[in-house]
């Protein structure tokens, strides 16, 4: 058993009665923001593809589709901007001692992300409002920086998460952070890449399944013209291919976690004791050092994590009870993510098989019913994945360096803030759902909002 002496931090650690509420408030903020990020990453690329089809074929259908998706992008980007702002405020509002102590190490990632954010905001302004005014080629070109910035933005943010899970690029000396190398800490960190690729593919899955799902609803109601089929096929293709690739990227993630964060892996699998030839349990419940009511698959964990059926996997008992994450939360989240991911991959393989073999879209009504469910399920899997990463790292905010309880603010009023934010986010969700529905129903040439403008003599 190793005992870890964490540092106190730059500001005095504070007594906080509502640490759990602070963590929940942070989790709520992430759960609202991350699905929006998916659209920021994947939708610009899908849009550009459709607009390229328009430039290539000259068919108005593609342009109409791209303009409709532009509205979705603008709405969701606005929601993403403001929920992302809340996250950056919470770095100080909820975790001032974390930011105050390690800002010099990880802050650079966010500072660079700010520039990606700038590029996204600037070119979304040009792209969304330039449809009628810019030449077709210039308009297409104005979309390219949005797609690039979506990728670089997630890269820099995830570099910070990778660092929190695998802190490098600094030394501790008498409880002070010294010898700081921010670039090395963030970008030469082996923990960045698998997290990034996993999230990048997840973004295409969430965006693709949600978008295709809305057109699947239309098909079930009998709307199935060429426009709808194209609008369904493009996001579905991206999501399906990403789902297949995600199986292997997910497996890679598991091996990286096994190497760097054995306690997290033990929590994921509910492995109470260090075991040679460790099994995987499907379903079940962790209690008293073992998984009960689960279906055991002998030696599979050793095989998956270390590519050897006889490998020794470290159990939860290797660290003190106070250094272990809440096992069942992590385990349930992991099983949900993998279970949903497998179902989505299965659906994807069916789609790809029908497409390649028969040269058409699937025709079974059940396929489209499953596709309607795939969108929300992919969001659940996305959030569950982040729960594995974040709750699985507990009780640490910076793995084995600073505890979450040391990072938290000493200010009072967390329950009030939490309740207020929950209320505001509920209103935001209702509003965004309402406006997306309006966009879906409204004719493309939206004259309503300019009725007064148009009547004034020019």
């Amino acid at each position: 058993m190793t005992h870890i002496l964490a540092i106190a931090g730059q500001l005095a650690p504070a007594e906080q009665k509502y640490l759990l509420q602070a963590r929940q408030m942070q989790a709520l903020s992430f759960a609202v923001h991350i699905p929006l990020v998916c659209f920021g990453i994947a939708l610009p690329a899908l849009l550009l593809y459709v607009e390229w089809l328009y430039l290539r074929t000259g068919e108005e259908l593609y342009r109409t589709l791209a303009r409709r998706w532009t509205r979705i992008m603008v709405t969701l980007f606005a929601a993403g901007v403001v929920t992302g702002t809340i996250l950056s405020f919470e770095m100080g509002l909820l975790w001032p001692n974390f930011t105050g102590t390690f800002g010099g190490v990880f802050g650079l990632g966010f500072a660079i992300e700010g520039f990606s954010f700038f590029m996204e905001a600037i070119f979304i302004g040009i792209y969304a409002y330039g449809w009628n005014r810019l030449s077709p080629r210039a308009h297409f070109a104005s979309g390219i920086p949005i797609a690039i910035a979506g990728f670089t933005g997630s890269l820099t943010v995830i570099s910070v998460n990778g660092w929190m899970n695998h802190p490098t690029g600094f030394r501790l000396s008498d409880g002070r952070v010294v010898d700081v190398h921010p670039f090395r800490a963030l970008f030469a960190n082996s923990y960045l890449w698998h997290e990034l690729i996993h999230m990048y593919l997840a973004a295409y899955m969430v965006t693709g399944f949600l978008l295709a799902g809305t057109y699947a609803v239309g098909r079930l109601r009998g709307r199935w013209g060429r426009y709808e089929r194209t609008a369904l096929a493009v996001p579905l293709a991206a999501a399906a291919l990403a789902s297949v690739a995600q199986i292997f990227v997910g497996d890679w993630n598991g091996r990286e976690v096994a190497a760097v964060q054995p306690t997290k892996l033990a929590a994921v699998e509910g492995l109470g004791h260090t075991t040679t030839g460790a099994p995987v349990h499907v379903l079940g419940w962790y209690s008293d050092g073992r998984v009960e009511y689960g279906i055991p698959l002998p030696r599979l964990l050793s095989l998956l994590a270390f590519h050897s059926t006889n490998a020794t996997v470290q159990g939860l008992d290797a660290v003190a009870p106070s250094d272990r994450p809440p096992v069942n939360v992590v385990r349930l989240a992991f099983q949900s993510m993998v279970g949903i991911g497998s179902l989505l991959a299965l659906l994807s393989v069916i789609f790809l098989f029908v497409r390649i073999r028969r040269g058409r879209l699937p025709e079974s009504t059940w396929f489209y019913r499953a596709l309607v469910a795939a969108g929300p399920l992919s969001v659940v899997a996305l959030i569950a994945g982040w729960v594995v990463t974040e709750v699985g790292r507990q009780p640490w905010v910076v793995y084995r360096v600073m505890r979450t309880s040391q990072a938290v603010t000493g200010a009072s009023g967390i329950p009030v803030g939490y309740a207020t934010l929950a209320g505001v986010y509920l209103a935001l969700a209702v509003g965004v759902a309402w406006v997306l529905r309006r966009h879906q129903q409204a004719p493309l040439d939206d004259r309503a909002s300019s009725r007064q403008t148009a009547t004034e003599p020019h």
């Binding site: 000259g58 068919e59 709405t75 702002t85 950056s88 102590t101 500072a111 979304i124």
Partner: protein, 420 residues
């Protein structure tokens, strides 16, 4: 000037740009709030909305820029400020969410009644946010935030004379900037009547903001004496004079309907107040922490300076493009015109080669990522899997699927098969 002062200079430039550009967007909301009812009021609210629609998100990012610079380069100061001033910062955050939500919602409104409701939420949050951020500046400027978690009172750190004054000044400056910018935008679109209405508002708000600034100086004399001394007798004085002159020039320009140059003098007047605060407060960040003491290590300072300079090389040309297009009317909302030239194109063809390439990339990806156990192999494996996704998309979405002229009927599978 030392290296450790460069990031704070960047942050202040960002703050000044946020006060000017973001401020004008907040001010647009302010005028929506006071627009009243009826057709002229609807025109004012519409104009205010459309003028800021393409730019507000980019302008908002300056706030994020300032936050990230401060927490990277001066982490302990950031932590102390955020925990002490948590209430006004949270209120500003809520205001920002409501504002962005209202902006997104407005595009879906169908009736003037719905629009008025959404605009009211937008307008109220546009007043709340700059006020709350102004009280944060006031808390720092009057020395009420010390190092700690929290490093001062959660209430009196922002509910105090200096904070309230700077909060009101932030709202007044926003209203003034917005009125100046919006008269210019209305004039550019050839809408004289509307330009006149905003001209009157610009003149009123300009005098109002000036009055708040003068009262503010009196408040500082009693509530933040160190700042007052440095502002009126020390390093801050030139900035104060510059702000005054720029403000007066703006009033004259607006009076004479010279809206375009007035944009720049109005911006200068507001930016100079930020500079004045910084010069008067230097070299102190918090009462018990100088900028030098607050600064993170040398490598972090170098990294942040490199990142900002490199980022600026991409950012400023892009911003210039956005503002050139906006001020040139290229992004104006004109529902009736559709000047998009039609594109001559060729039909898509089936592409069977892509399928084979995608399958090959998938197999190679599995081999390098899953079987091999080495960082370089993993990198190649990831590249192969991404190639699989990209070529897979091209293979799936070829002419065969996108051009198929026979719609497959949802409720009649056999007929669909027969037609094919």
């Amino acid at each position: 000037m030392h290296l450790y002062e460069l990031p704070v200079l960047f942050a202040l430039v960002g703050l000044a740009l946020y006060a000017v550009l973001g401020g004008a967007d907040f001010g647009a909301g302010f005028w929506q709030l006071l627009a009243g009812k009826g057709r002229p009021a609807d025109e004012i609210r519409d104009h205010a909305h459309h003028a800021m629609a393409p730019v507000w998100e980019a302008n908002h990012v300056w706030l994020i820029f300032v936050l990230t610079i401060v927490w990277t380069a001066y982490p302990a100061a950031f932590g102390s400020i955020a925990s002490t001033l948590s209430i006004p910062l949270f209120l500003a955050g809520i205001g920002i969410v409501l504002r962005g939500g209202a902006y997104a919602l407005r595009a879906g409104t169908a009736t003037p009644r719905e629009q008025r409701k959404v605009d009211t939420v937008f307008a109220l949050s546009s007043v709340l946010t700059p006020f709350a951020l102004g009280t944060v500046i006031g808390g720092i400027a009057s020395g009420r935030v010390h190092v700690g978690n929290p490093g001062g009172s959660l209430t009196s750190s922002w509910l105090n004379p200096t904070s309230i004054t700077i909060g009101v000044l932030a709202v007044a400056n926003a209203a003034y900037l917005a009125a100046v910018f919006l008269s210019g935008d209305a004039e550019r679109r050839g809408r004289r009547q509307l330009a006149e209405r905003f001209r009157v508002r610009a003149l009123t708000a300009g005098v109002g903001a000036g009055a708040v600034a003068v009262i503010g100086l009196a408040v500082l004399r009693f509530d933040a004496h160190r700042l007052f001394t440095h502002l009126t007798r020390g390093a801050g004085l030139p900035a104060l004079i510059l702000s005054l002159l720029a403000g007066l020039t703006t009033l004259v320009l607006i009076w004479r309907r010279r809206y375009e140059p007035a944009r720049y003098t109005a911006a200068l007047a507001v930016a100079a107040t930020v500079a004045g605060w910084a010069l008067a407060q230097r070299p102190i960040f918090l009462p018990d922490l100088t900028v030098q003491q607050a600064a993170a290590g040398h490598d972090t300072q170098v990294a942040i300076v490199v990142a900002v300079l490199a980022g600026g090389l991409i950012l400023f040309p892009s911003l210039a493009l956005l503002f050139r297009l906006t001020l040139g009317g290229q992004l104006d909302y004109e529902p009736t015109t559709d000047t998009q030239a039609s594109v001559a194109g060729r039909p898509l063809r089936p592409r069977s080669g892509h399928t084979r390439l995608a399958v090959a990339a998938l197999l190679a990806g599995i081999g390098f990522l899953t079987v091999a156990d080495n960082d370089w192999a993993h990198a190649i494996g990831v590249a192969c899997l991404l190639t699989f996704v990209a070529f897979g998309c091209l293979a799936v979405l070829d002419g065969e699927i996108l051009n198929s002229p026979t719609p497959t009927q949802p409720d009649n599978q056999r007929e669909g098969q027969a037609q094919r």
